[in-house]
C-alpha cells in the first residue's frame, strides 16, 4: 500500500513538472478560458408585420353602413420594409477557443416606409417614411469548429443569440393611429461567418445574420371596458419581424 501511494505521488509530481516545463505559447493555448471581444459593422434588411386577429370577426363597413362577417378579419395592421446600418459588439469568453459565451449589445436602424391600416377590409392605408433606432442587448453562444490552421473549417463560426430590441416607433403608432403594440421585441438570431487571422489574437472576417422577432400586443387589461383599446390575445404573439443582415467582423480572442 505504501509503495502504491509513493508511485501515485511520483506520477503527480512528474505531471506537474511536465506542465511547468511547457513553453508560454503552449500554456496559453491550453488555458481553458480566454477573453473574447467582437465588433461588427454592417447592414440589416427588415420586414415587419404586426396585426391583431379579430375575436368577433364583425367589421363595420362604413360606406354601406352594414356589419360584415369576415372569418379572416384583422385590425391594427402595421408593417414596414426597409434597410439600415447595424453596429454590434460581443463581449464574453471562449472555452478552449472553440465555444464562446457572450453578451451582445448594439443597435440598428429601420429606415424605410411604414404602412398602417386600421382593418384588413379597409381600402384606406397610411404610410410614412421614417428611420427608427433599434437599440438591443442579449446573450448568445458561438462555435468555432476548427481552430488549427490545418483544419478545413478553421475560422468558420456559427452562432445564435437571443436579444431584446427596443422599438421606439411603436409609441408613434399608438399616438397617431390608436394601434397599441409593445415597444419591445425578442429576436432570435442565427449567424454564420468566416474569420482570417491578422495576428496571434486578432481576426478579421465577415458574418451573415438571419433573425426572427416575436412581440405581443398590449399589456393585459383585466376588467371589461368599452372606452379603451382592446386587449390582444396571447394567440396573437407571432413571428412579427424577419431580418437578414451582413457585417464586417473584427474579433480578439
Amino acid at each position: 500500500m505504501k509503495r502504491v501511494a509513493v508511485l501515485i505521488l511520483c506520477l503527480v509530481a512528474y505531471s506537474v513538472a511536465g506542465v511547468l516545463e511547457l513553453s508560454p505559447a503552449d500554456k496559453k493555448f491550453l488555458q481553458l478560458f480566454h477573453s473574447y471581444v467582437e465588433l461588427s459593422v454592417g447592414g440589416v434588411s427588415s420586414v415587419t408585420d404586426y396585426k391583431t386577429k379579430s375575436t368577433t370577426n364583425y367589421y363595420h363597413d362604413l360606406e354601406r353602413d352594414e356589419m360584415v362577417y369576415d372569418e379572416d378579419l384583422y385590425y391594427d395592421i402595421y408593417s414596414y420594409e426597409g434597410f439600415g446600418p447595424l453596429f454590434e459588439s460581443k463581449v464574453g469568453f471562449s472555452v478552449v477557443r472553440k465555444v464562446v459565451f457572450f453578451l451582445n449589445f448594439g443597435c440598428f436602424w429601420s429606415a424605410g416606409e411604414y404602412r398602417y391600416k386600421i382593418s384588413s377590409r379597409d381600402k384606406e392605408e397610411f404610410s410614412e417614411d421614417d428611420a427608427r433606432l433599434r437599440p438591443f442587448w442579449g446573450i448568445g453562444v458561438k462555435w468555432y469548429p476548427g481552430i488549427s490552421e490545418q483544419n478545413p473549417f478553421n475560422g468558420i463560426f456559427i452562432g445564435t443569440n437571443l436579444k431584446g430590441v427596443f422599438l421606439s416607433g411603436n409609441q408613434k403608432v399608438w399616438e397617431k393611429y390608436g394601434m397599441y403594440y409593445w415597444d419591445s421585441e425578442t429576436i432570435l438570431e442565427l449567424e454564420i461567418g468566416k474569420l482570417w487571422k491578422v495576428s496571434e489574437r486578432y481576426f478579421l472576417g465577415f458574418s451573415i445574420k438571419v433573425a426572427g422577432g416575436f412581440a405581443g400586443g398590449t399589456d393585459p387589461v383585466d376588467e371589461f371596458r368599452v372606452d379603451a383599446h382592446r386587449e390582444q390575445n396571447d394567440d396573437d404573439i407571432t413571428l412579427n419581424s424577419k431580418h437578414i443582415g451582413a457585417a464586417v467582423t473584427f474579433v480578439r480572442k
Partner: protein, 142 residues
C-alpha cells in the same frame, strides 16, 4: 354569505346620435324596471341589477329570465329596438343569481377590452334615428 358575490347586470349606453335611451326590463311579462341613458359619458348608462329580482326561495335553482326592451329618442321620433332575453339562474339555495353581465352599446372591437362575447346586434327596423347596425349585446365574461 359569499362576500365576493357580484350580481349580474344589464347596462345599456345610448348611441351617440340619439338624445336619450330608455331600457325597460320585463320578467314574466311584467315591467319590473325602467332605466334611462341620457349621456354618452362614462357612467351615463341605463343600468339594471338582477340582485333584487332573482333571489329567494321561489327562484331557487330555477331559471330567471329578463326581457330587455330598448327605445331610442331623437327629436320627436321614437324608435324601438328588437328585444333581447337575458337568461340567468338562481342558486339552489335561492341566495344568489348567476353573475351574468350584459353590456349593450355601439360596438367597435378596437375599443373594447376585457373578456366578452358578442351575443347579437340590435339594429332597429325603423331607421328614423339612424341605422345603428353596430348596436350590440355583449356578454361580459370576467
Amino acid at each position: 354569505m359569499d362576500f365576493n358575490y357580484n350580481p349580474g347586470y344589464v347596462k345599456a349606453l345610448k348611441p351617440a346620435d340619439v338624445d336619450s335611451l330608455e331600457m325597460r326590463i320585463y320578467s314574466n311579462d311584467s315591467l319590473i324596471a325602467t332605466e334611462y341613458s341620457r349621456s354618452s359619458e362614462s357612467g351615463g348608462e341605463a343600468s339594471f341589477s338582477y340582485e333584487d329580482f332573482c333571489k329567494g326561495d321561489e327562484h331557487a335553482g330555477k331559471s330567471c329570465d329578463f326581457t330587455i326592451a330598448i327605445t331610442l329618442f331623437c327629436g320627436d321620433k321614437t324608435v324601438a329596438l328588437p328585444t333581447y332575453i337575458a337568461k340567468t339562474k338562481t342558486s339552489s339555495d335561492g341566495l344568489f343569481a348567476d353573475e351574468v353581465k350584459y353590456y349593450i352599446a355601439e360596438f367597435d372591437e378596437r375599443k373594447v377590452s376585457g373578456d366578452y362575447s358578442l351575443e347579437t346586434f340590435l339594429a332597429p327596423e325603423d331607421a328614423a334615428c339612424g341605422k345603428f347596425v353596430n348596436y350590440a349585446v355583449l356578454k361580459v365574461e370576467d
